[in-house]
Amino acid sequence: MLDALRTFLGMGGYAAFVWPALILTAVVLVSMLVLSLQDLRRAERTLQGMEPADRPRRRRGAA
């Protein structure tokens, strides 16, 4: 069982290249996702804080 894990992690001797490549890919993709979600949450939170005070009347159908 442990042997199988070791073989897997060893990547046929190329572990020093394969794992950093995969991890780097994951890091880039995940951080882009996280940063974008943070921007979204921050903007939506600000929006929720603002709406009641800054919209005195709802103009339905107005240009």
Partner: protein, 244 residues
Amino acid sequence: MANLHRFANPAQFQRLSRALLPWVAGITAILFVLGLYFALFASPPDYQQGDTVRIMYVHVPSAWMSLFCYTFLAVAGAVGLIWRHPLAFMSARAAAPIGAGFTFIVLATGSLWGKPMWGTWWVWDARLTSVLILFFLYLGHIALSRAFDDPARGAKAAAVLALVGAVNVPIIKFSVDWWNTLHQPASVSRLAGPAIDSSMLPPLFLMAFAFMGYFFTLLLIRIRADLASRKVQALRVAALAAAE
């Protein structure tokens, strides 16, 4: 007040994206799980390149996505310039950094794939060199779109740049190929990578679709974020005007 209503129209997009997002994100997650399973466990190492071929399962889809994203920038730019649909410009602005990210992954994983295969961290092979130039095309697009006080101006200028770039990408590819055959490095004869065995196709395509799904997920999120922050801006401006 007119300002507010200009941003009220993207309500259509907001509704659509709110409905789509969980599905796109969910399918993407499933594709990643399946793709990684096949890439790391259920596919054999290459008879020549060994387990380094597993790097290909992220390197090649990233390369496809980096080209796809640039095409997306050009098409969105054209749509924005011709039909002036604001969502087109917002899509381009949201997509450019994603494309740059994919391009960076191509370069970095290419380097990590190259070291064990060709013995150096960087090789001026035609494909990698073209991708390097593409990376700078992305950086230029991102910088130009944010270089003006008026973001609309930036979006339009970047759209023209994307179209100019799109015309140039085939020319650049052609000239880099030419340059590469003139200066064939002695130690590397054919940097074509492994011949793709049929057992490699499932993980490759699964990962490719996963990356595509990731792109659209992230695109939707970024456009929603852009719309929200613009609404914040508009409300702030309206509040200032009302206070006078």
